[in-house]
Symmetry: C2
Subunit: 240 residues, 2 copies
């Protein structure tokens, strides 16, 4: 069994964003990403700053840790990163979760395919807009979306929007993959700000502006516009 590079296991808490927003869940955060988004709010998973915290764990050890921390107070686990889709061995963990009746959610940017995508209950594909400075590989994304559609998977697309160009990008994604549930999310431009009340008031203003522009666009009708709830509640604190 190949080991999983794990940075954090915590919870239960709530999922702060996307298709299962508000869901009570445990979190497993894996290390490593093939991207380096300009505004990454989890840069410690790939920039080396937390490399001493990475633990190589077998899927069974991750499950033991989840039970140790969460006890009987959870029935859902979210796997986040970094990009967990870099790790074929996540499949082992998903098998254990399924066998124990635990639901699963995962988010990835859509740069890699894994067969275990089929075993995720709530899968979010979140391609990165221009402000990230990353380039979307549309061939790869087309392949991922078509496989998930064919399989009848419960999945959604989510784009974080910081500016006009990002909104155009979001529009393009929504129109390219018609019929796939689509989420537009405000980003957090101040991932180091420690003044939480000020951060919250800025983020709520950004959210209001994003609602306004989305509501003006006839190409963005059947969409959901959401903030990141965890940032509104806990600011930039980690592990909550």
């Amino acid at each position: 069994m190949r080991k999983i590079p794990v940075l954090e296991v915590f919870g239960p808490t709530i999922q702060g964003e996307g298709m299962v927003i508000g869901q009570k869940t445990m979190f497993v955060r894996t290390a490593g990403c093939d991207y380096s988004c300009a505004w990454c709010d989890s840069a410690f998973t790939w920039d080396g700053s937390a490399k001493d915290d990475i633990r190589l764990m077998a899927a069974t050890e991750v499950w033991d840790k989840l039970k140790e921390i969460g006890g009987d107070r959870f029935s859902h686990v979210t796997i986040s990163g970094g990009n967990p889709a870099l790790l074929p061995q996540i499949g082992d963990l998903l098998e254990i979760l399924k066998a124990n009746g635990i639901g699963s959610a995962l988010e990835t940017q859509g740069s890699r395919w894994q067969d275990w995508f089929y075993d995720i209950n709530d899968l979010t594909i979140s391609p990165k807009p221009p402000s990230s400075t990353m380039e979307t590989d549309y061939d790869r994304l087309d392949l991922i979306v078509s496989r998930l559609k064919e399989n009848g998977s419960n999945f959604s697309l989510k784009v974080v929007v910081f500016d006009e160009k990002d909104l155009e990008y979001a529009k393009g994604i929504h129109m390219r993959y018609e019929g796939v549930p689509f989420y537009i999310q405000t980003g957090n431009p101040e991932v180091s700000m420690e003044d939480t009340p000020r951060l919250v008031s800025n983020l709520l203003l950004d959210y209001e502006r994003l609602i306004d522009v989305v509501c003006e666009q006839k190409e963005l009708n059947d969409v959901r516009v959401l903030p990141q709830l965890h940032t509104l509640v806990w600011g930039n604190k980690r592990g909550v």
Copy 2:
């Protein structure tokens, strides 16, 4: 065609709560409620204070109004109240929406059944906890839930929680209707407060506390805990 007592038509904006939180949508608010919850945030729909604003509209007139205001910038309509389940004539409006490819959402407290419940895309049944001072008619609620289950409807249960007793009530509802998607929501105890920044900071603290207590309860694992986004963004302002 029986006319619908309408208090507000507005949008597009976003749905601030529940199973379609964040959804871009138009709103139609009907007048009248068979309850009088202590903390009702829409008391103007039933306490007489806005009775001069009520317009009796045929379903076709509501549709014309929606198009006049929303143009081509919407594909989803939320019908709210008051309790729209008092009105059999909502069925006429739902038919028009369906014929025009418009999705629909509706929330009701579960005190009345209407056959048009089957025509709602996203139906929220929100029984009221003890702090409302209302009494739940469990026979009625059982009937509604079992009919919706049998029909395979896309529906959820939602309970607003203000205090310990409400949380116990929520637990009871969740356990009674196992398997039905379940939402727990913070209430707004200050529906008249005009100081929005203060309201927001209070509501986020309430939300954090609610997350904490839900996370401690093993009877409340497969649940979603959500705030009211519209109140965080717009405070107690109406018609947004």
